[in-house]
Amino acid sequence: MTPFELAEPRSLREAAVLLTNGGEPAHAIAGGTALMLMMKAGVFQPKRLVSLRAIEPQHSEINVLPGGGLRIGAMATLRSLERSVLVKQAAPVITRTLKTLSNVRVRNVATLGGHLAHGDPHMDLPPVLTALGAHVRTLSPAGERTLAVGEVYTGYYETCLADDELIAELIVPPQTGWRSAYFKITTRAADDWPTLGIAVALRMEANVVREARLVVSAATNTPTRLSAAAGVLLGATPDAAILARCGDAAFAEVELVGDVHGSAPYKQELLRVYVARAIRGALVDRL
């Protein structure tokens, strides 16, 4: 790794200011797990980093909002989410997803903000949070804004966040009436990077699907909504025939890309099969 300077501001606001006012452009670092890999590989050679580790403690907190939603500060570690009873009660799919998201030591250090801002399309939480209808609140010297998680990603490792814009917190809406699942398909260990990720959230009335969000990841440049497949579910009771049609619709509506974890045709076939499995998983949503 090449030498750099490091600032350690005491507030998120000050951090955002430091990102652009110091002459040399700077880059934020939170847990550093993703950045360290890039710096060690030499693909990222910063001159200045701004550490978020000394900012206000409320940015590491997890709170329940009136109505049952969640507010999670950007500096909360993935491990604190995994172990949070509040998260488990409000959205057990997040707790389940974290169990196979990398290993314990990485989760001990990695933060939610870093996870959401990194933009690697293989990351596990962006598709899940998109399906749950979650938002991020950001802060920059220009002001604050709220973005749907699904809007953050604009391309391969690209986000819509400005150079001096930081994620402050995540808001997960109440999940009353919704059931969700995330299926992470790996080709080696269960906690490996996904070959394909599929997140499903369904709002059910008795056995009938009233709303459906299906999201595919790890084989597209950004987490991608499957609207045609979701459309098949609306007003239907998801039996074997509907699930098969849903898989076919997903297969037809999106063109997946291959990578070291699997070729495009392989992933496309996985999609057809696993859309149905993920929907079945959502129907039995529990920890």
Binding site: M1, T2, P3, F4, E5, L6, I29, G32, T33, M36, L37, M39, K40, K47, L49, S51, R53, K99, S102, N103, V104, R105, V106, N108, V109, A189, A190, D191
Partner: protein, 158 residues
């Protein structure tokens, strides 16, 4: 451009003050202190050979900036306040849960954390918790046995 910092931390119970490159990771700085129990193998967070406890939490030292350990309590496999092996280390020896031993410090530290969190982990719990520890000598079945034995030893001692 100031690219170094003098940091102070507790290393295995003793205070340390040292100047580090801001870009240096924790394993480099521990080696400079003469401690080689945490070693860099995969260098990318996957294998656990570089496991270090920072404020009681296991981290991959290879992905952890040394400057993040400023003012922290740092413990490595060398930490042994009573000067003898603990239940986990004894169990690894009794079960033959290593061959070359390169991965063992990381396994021992992670197993201690696991048993602090779960008194009686199942095979699945063990495999899941240790998924980020790789053993090139493939002693995994013996490791699982050693964890179970260590859990028993801890219970007897308690």
């Amino acid at each position: 451009m100031n690219t170094t910092r003098t940091i102070t931390f507790t290393l295995n119970g003793a205070p340390v003050t040292t100047t580090v490159g801001l870009h240096q990771h924790l394993v480099e700085v521990l080696h400079a202190q003469g401690l080689t129990g945490a070693r860099e193998a995969c260098a990318q967070g996957l294998c656990g050979c570089c496991t270090v406890l920072v404020n009681g939490i296991a981290v991959s030292g290879c992905l952890y900036l040394a400057v993040f350990a400023d003012k922290a309590d740092v413990k490595t496999i060398e930490y042994s306040p009573e000067g003898k092996l603990d239940a986990v280390q004894e169990s690894f020896i009794e079960c033959g849960a290593f061959q070359c031993g390169y991965c063992t410090p990381g396994f021992v530290l992670m197993v201690r954390q696991l048993l602090d969190e779960q008194l009686d982990p199942s095979d699945d719990d063990i495999k899941h918790y240790l998924a980020g520890n790789l053993c090139r000598c493939a002693t995994y079945p013996e490791v699982v046995k050693a964890v179970k034995l260590a859990a028993k030893k801890r219970k007897v001692a308690a």
